[in-house]
């Protein structure tokens, strides 16, 4: 097993052990949200940070995963790890389809189409009574799980596993031929195309992977929240957070989204409790605008600049 994966799993085990030591269920509830944002931010960054194509529809892919779970749950209940695979597959297919229709054109069209995708999928779900329609759907979760204990700890552990998968994927891409291919698209797509880089195929791989990971992050969500409404699954906060977190952390490596998600995610957990959720969304929006103007390479970029200045 590669060293990176071993370190990640060890870190994940430490996080889980630490959370159990505190022994308060709230830690798991809040931690789950932060972990979920790490997966979303990392997934967004695979497309946005590595290839430079902006996806505004994170909420749509996330909700697709969540609603795939609701659908399967109503039809034939399956264990959550399987649901995660199904949710991921559904979102990956939609990501591929969207990419195929729009990525052959100018980059902006893809961004616009993803923005509209959220509105359309929400329309579909609102009109689809089987998954609850506009009223929403209840998912009754068991209280306990064998071996682990409280159900929220089980969900937390699953999300932790997803974080490990997402980070390993992102870092693996960065150091592979795929990652260099993505970087050529980001830097100069025309030149890359002229040099024989299969840009469309690479872009489709990126959208599929990115969409799939978002769907996987969304799949356990109905069990977490217990009552899934279209407006909560398609919430704009998912779209804005999954863009803001990599942008604030730094988009060029897997560390950026991780830092951004931990910082912003924790900040929001604190702000939601102490101030109000509308104010904390405002903070995220202002941070996003401020960072893209002032620190285009995010926190990672700031640190790198500082180190470079010192070494000179």
């Amino acid at each position: 097993m590669p060293l990176f994966l071993v370190i990640l799993i060890a870190a994940a085990a430490l996080v889980f052990g630490g959370a159990r030591l505190i022994g308060n269920d709230y830690v798991f509830f809040a931690g789950y949200t932060v972990l979920q944002f790490i997966v979303l931010a990392t997934a967004w960054n695979i497309l946005g940070g590595y290839t430079g194509y902006v996806n505004f529809g994170s909420a749509a892919f996330f909700a697709l995963g969540a609603y795939a779970t609701v659908f399967v749950h109503k039809t034939y209940p399956l264990p959550i790890p399987l649901l995660i695979v199904i949710g991921g597959a559904v979102s990956a297919v939609v990501g591929f389809g969207m990419g195929y229709l729009t990525l052959r054109l100018r980059g902006a069209f893809f961004a616009i189409a993803t923005l509209a995708l959220a509105v359309v999928l929400q329309t579909l779900v609102v009109n689809w009574d089987y998954v609850g329609g506009s009223r929403g759907a209840y998912i009754i979760r068991p209280n306990e799980v064998a071996l682990i204990g409280p159900y929220i700890q089980y969900l937390f552990l699953l999300m932790l596993a997803l974080v490990v998968i997402a980070l390993t994927t992102a870092r693996g891409i960065e150091r592979s031929q795929l990652g260099y291919g993505f970087a050529t698209i980001r830097d100069d797509e025309l030149a890359a195309e002229a040099c024989g880089v299969p840009t469309l195929r690479l872009k489709l791989i990126a959208t599929t992977l990115s969409g799939g990971l978002m769907g996987m992050a969304g799949a356990p969500f109905p069990y977490y929240i217990g009552y899934l409404q279209p407006s909560s699954a398609f919430g704009l906060e998912y779209a804005v957070n999954s863009i803001a977190m990599p942008m604030i952390g730094g988009t060029t490596s897997w560390v950026g989204p991780l830092i951004g998600a931990i910082l912003l995610g924790s900040l929001q957990q604190i702000a939601t409790v102490t101030i109000s959720s509308a104010v904390n969304l405002l903070i995220v929006g202002l941070l996003l605008v401020g960072f893209v103007i002032i620190a285009p390479n995010g926190i990672v970029g700031l640190v790198q600049d500082r180190l470079r200045a010192r070494s000179k």
């Binding site: 729009t102 054109l105 616009i112 189409a113 359309v120 329309t123 803001a244 995220v284 605008v289 285009p296």
Partner: protein
């Protein structure tokens, strides 16, 4: 009677003709909403996804002044044009300094506008809450009837105002030096520079005009329907669908695209139920991108 849920209904002539009229009136209004994006996205290549946020801002200004002083919303929006123009020019200046000059408009420029959209929406929610707001005007309520045809003034007045705005802009773009210079920005910036006009200044003016149209579009929106801060989101898909359908950069194309989408949405709402209408724009957008990316009257 039309029934929700896609059930087959008898096509009565009255229903079809009134759906058509409603669609055309709605399309006229959509033209007002889209014409600004047609300038910013179509001509200047600036993907201003925050456009609907400015429209909602226009709606709220119309609402505040209308509620306090009882002035006609369209009149308010005309007096607001200079303020919105300055706002637009300011936003362009920030956009140019931070992104366009550094060649980072793709990723960070888009995120900037997305952040702007989000910040505006959340700020409006914090100040006004999520209650629906509306305006008072003599033409909201009554309608004209010609035979079986129904012209609600609430829709007719915005449609006419939108067409008037389109006419004024089209005249400006084709008859004045500035208007032609704006069109030239899209074609050849170097040639423009050789003619002694600064592309940055021209783009700033054009973007200012594009945001100025949102003052009017916002007032028209709040005449047509009650507005709350997140209504703008529904217009993102519509606005860009119309823009692409009509052909980027073509103002007459925008009006035709707007009318087509208005009619399609109106028929969808009449025969399948209004909750399906938002999906129409997206379908149109995807189909256009897949089969005719240049749009109907594309350059």
């Amino acid at each position: 009677m039309p029934v929700r849920g896609g059930q087959r209904v008898g096509l009565s002539f009255d229903l079809v003709i009134n759906a058509l009229i409603a669609g055309i009136l709605l399309g006229g209004f959509y033209a007002a909403v889209t014409i600004g994006v047609s300038i910013s996205f179509g001509i200047l290549d600036i993907v201003n996804i925050a456009h609907p946020a400015f429209i909602i801002l226009g709606s709220y200004i119309a609402y505040i002044i209308n509620a306090r002083l009882g002035i006609d919303p369209i009149l308010i929006s005309i007096t607001m044009l200079p303020a919105f123009y300055v706002l637009g020019a300011g936003v362009y200046q920030i956009y140019y300094e931070s992104f366009e000059r550094r060649g980072q408009e793709a990723l960070r420029g888009l995120s900037f506008f997305f952040g702007l959209l989000f910040v505006t929406e959340v700020s409006l929610i914090l100040v006004f809450g999520v209650d629906y707001r509306y305006v008072e005007a003599p033409y909201i309520g009554p309608s004209w009837h010609i035979g079986v045809m129904d012209f609600p003034l609430r829709m007719l007045v915005p449609c006419l105002a939108a067409l008037a705005m389109f006419g004024a802009l089209e005249l400006f773009m084709s008859r004045t030096f500035l208007g032609r210079a704006i069109a030239a920005v899209a074609q050849d910036q170097l040639a423009l520079r050789l003619m002694g006009a600064s592309p940055i200044r021209i783009k700033r003016i054009a973007f200012g005009i594009s945001i100025a149209t949102t003052a009017v579009a916002g007032a028209l929106l709040i005449i047509i329907q009650p507005v709350e801060p997140s209504v703008g989101r529904e217009y993102i898909g519509r606005v860009f669908a119309i823009c692409v359908l009509g052909g980027l950069g073509s103002l007459p194309g925008t009006v035709i695209g707007a009318m087509l989408l208005g009619i399609l949405e109106s028929f969808t709402a009449t025969f399948y139920g209004p909750s399906w209408a938002p999906a129409v724009a997206f379908g149109v957008l995807l189909l256009t991108l897949a089969f005719r990316p240049a749009g109907l009257l594309g350059r």
